[in-house]
């Protein structure tokens, strides 16, 4: 390894060159060719990384995916029929700077909102799927996310398809204040109807998932899966540390921590996710039909 060669130099005293550090640009990785793992710093070819489903080959860190990547990895042949693709946020409160921020987020991510909903098949089973994307407004839930998720749930009830939601979110969208909060009740009430109709709902937690999303549809799955290392909770680490006035352990709120505390069913590696979903859906079928209890 290169690293080993350079370590020998440590035997000598080194004088840090201030001038050099200032003028030389930070070692940037050429975008689109190489990628540096945010956890272990391992540098690998982007193409290799993509082949590896954006999981670091060194430390197994699951890098964050946007909704498009998630859909193409999960659904058969990446084929997806999108619902409500044109729905966008209004600015119901005339909140300072909201409209500009929405525009920025759209330009940055290419998304209209923080969730994409629609249908496709997994292992041949038709499903309704909602996928959140943290690259739009940190995946926060305002009226649009609430409405799209609710419509997806209603579609799952109507079509009697299993529902799969991939969550990632910073929480509620402050710029829509109380309307954001009420989306928690709206989506949860819709899940109540799905629950009663006997429909299957598998919730998949990805990094990071917090606040109003966790405290509504994310934790209401019949089965709750999470990617390794995904951090999920209600309150954020910083707020909790301020409240209890002590440092929290590193593993606090990780998928593994939540598994240990009985909050989720399984931690599933990204390479096994599709298979696991297909198997779970299959286990809910009788004679090829997805069962609807009742």
């Amino acid at each position: 390894m290169f690293k080993d060669l350079f370590q020998k130099k440590k035997k000598y005293a080194t004088v840090p060159s201030v001038r050099d550090n200032h003028n030389r640009p930070k070692r940037e990785i050429p975008e689109g060719i190489m990628n540096k793992c945010p956890k272990c710093g391992n540098i690998q070819y982007f193409k290799e990384l993509e082949k590896n489903l954006k999981v670091c080959s060194e430390c197994d860190h699951h890098m964050r995916l946007n909704a498009f990547e998630r859909i193409s990895m999960t659904l058969d042949d990446g084929r997806f029929f999108e619902y409500d693709s044109e729905m966008t946020s209004a600015d119901p409160l005339n909140f300072p700077g909201y409209v500009e921020k929405l525009k920025q987020q759209h330009e940055k991510s290419g998304l209209h909102e923080a969730v994409i909903t629609g249908e496709g098949t997994i292992g041949g089973f038709p499903v309704v799927m909602a996928v959140m994307s943290a690259d739009f407004f940190t995946g926060s839930m305002g009226s649009v996310v609430g409405e799209k998720v609710t419509r997806a749930i209603e579609m799952a009830i109507q079509k009697q398809y299993p529902l799969i939601i991939f969550s990632t979110s910073g929480g509620a969208r402050m710029q829509e204040s109380i309307l954001s909060l009420m989306q928690m009740a709206k989506t949860s009430a819709a899940l109540g109807k799905l629950h009663e109709s006997g429909g299957l709902y598998i919730s998949v937690i990805t990094d990071p998932t917090f606040g109003g999303i966790t405290a509504s549809f994310t934790m209401l799955g019949d089965i709750i899966l999470a990617e390794p290392g995904a951090v999920v909770g209600f309150a954020g680490r910083r707020v909790i540390e301020q409240t209890i006035r002590q440092k929290l352990p590193d593993e606090f709120q990780t998928a593994e921590f939540n598994l240990k505390h009985g909050q989720i069913d399984m931690v599933v590696h990204r390479k096994d996710m599709k298979q696991t979903l297909a198997k779970l859906i299959d286990l809910h079928t009788v004679k090829g039909e997805v069962t609807h209890a009742e």
Partner: protein, 317 residues
């Protein structure tokens, strides 16, 4: 005066002046009655002015006033035969939420609410009215009990939010709130929710999925505390007042957005100035709305509740 709010200061200053003048007059035997009458007149006007134009940030302080009546105050003033029930049957009894059975105008109902403490010791025991998962689970247990015995449910909301602690997280804070939201939507009895003080985020909403959601005039209800919003949006928690204005957190704002159905007036100066009168007004509102809901069938009640929340949200397509 230790109980006054900052915006009430001009009032107390004027009151002080009037008192001084009275004392001075009686000591020296000088008749100031004309001046005093004039000052009293001005006091009334000022009072009117201050109390009819309470800004959102002033309401935030009013809603958090330490003397503001709490759930247990309202229960003792409005209901009879209250029997408090305890525990979630899973882990413990969270004193940040109180609940039980009582009679409203003679009719048995289940009443549940967040409970702030009356003093520091009480506040510590009640986690300042911020529930752990066991609080939400106790509430849901009592709601299922109400559903079984066909009792209407009344919830009183008054919390800064769910308790942000490590043990709360470990025991499933998010799951507890989520389950309340889902299962409250499915109950077959009338549910009336009243925000009596501060309605803070998911911890408030976990008792808030009702057929009717009402607010006391000076109560606030928001997705995040104005302090929290200010520190996230502007990296400055001291801009809470500014955030309070931008976030539309007052009863009037929420009525305009069709998030709530009714506003319950408070006595001049706020609920803490006259708990008796506030209770009477709250009781009137509860009676009126409950009578309307009692005309609905169980299925209609569920559908009504679903539709209420289903239509909330604004977007373009």
């Amino acid at each position: 005066m230790q109980n006054e709010l900052p915006y009430e200061q001009p009032l107390s200053e004027l009151r002080q002046k009037i008192d001084e003048l009275k004392r001075f007059g009686s000591e020296k035997g000088i008749d100031f009655s004309e001046e005093i009458a004039r000052l009293e007149e001005r006091y009334k006007k000022l009072e009117q002015e201050i109390y009819t134009n309470i800004s959102p940030s002033q309401k935030m302080h009013l809603a958090r006033h330490h003397q503001r009546p709490t759930t247990l105050d309202f229960i003792s003033h409005i209901f009879t035969d209250f029997v408090e029930l305890h525990g979630d049957r899973l882990f413990g009894d969270d004193l940040a939420i109180v609940g039980g059975i009582a009679r409203l105008n003679g009719v048995p109902v289940t009443v549940i609410g967040h409970q702030r403490g009356k003093d520091t010791k009480d506040n510590i025991a009640r986690f300042f009215g911020s529930p752990h998962p066991e609080g939400f689970r106790k509430a849901l247990r009592l709601m299922y009990q109400a559903d079984k015995f066909n009792r209407p449910i009344i919830t009183l909301i008054d919390t800064k939010g769910a308790y942000p602690g490590n043990t709360a997280e470990q025991r499933g804070q998010a799951e507890a709130i989520a389950r309340n939201l889902r299962d409250m939507a499915m109950l077959k009895v009338p549910i009336i929710c009243v925000v009596i003080g501060e309605g803070g985020s998911g911890g408030a909403l976990a008792l808030g999925v009702g057929n009717r959601v009402l607010m006391l005039e000076n109560a606030i209800y928001s997705v995040i505390s104005p302090n929290g919003a200010a520190s996230i949006l502007w990296k400055d928690a001291s801009k809470a007042d500014q955030a309070a204005e931008a976030m539309k957190i007052t009863a009037k704002d929420l009525l305009e957005m069709s998030v709530i159905e009714d506003i319950i007036p408070e006595p001049q100066g706020g609920a803490h100035k006259d708990v008796e009168a506030t209770s009477l007004l709250l009781k009137e509102a509860l009676t009126k709305h409950l009578n309307e809901l009692l005309k609905m069938t169980p299925d209609e009640l569920r559908e009504d509740r679903y539709n209420k929340f289903r239509q909330i949200g604004q977007f373009q397509e």
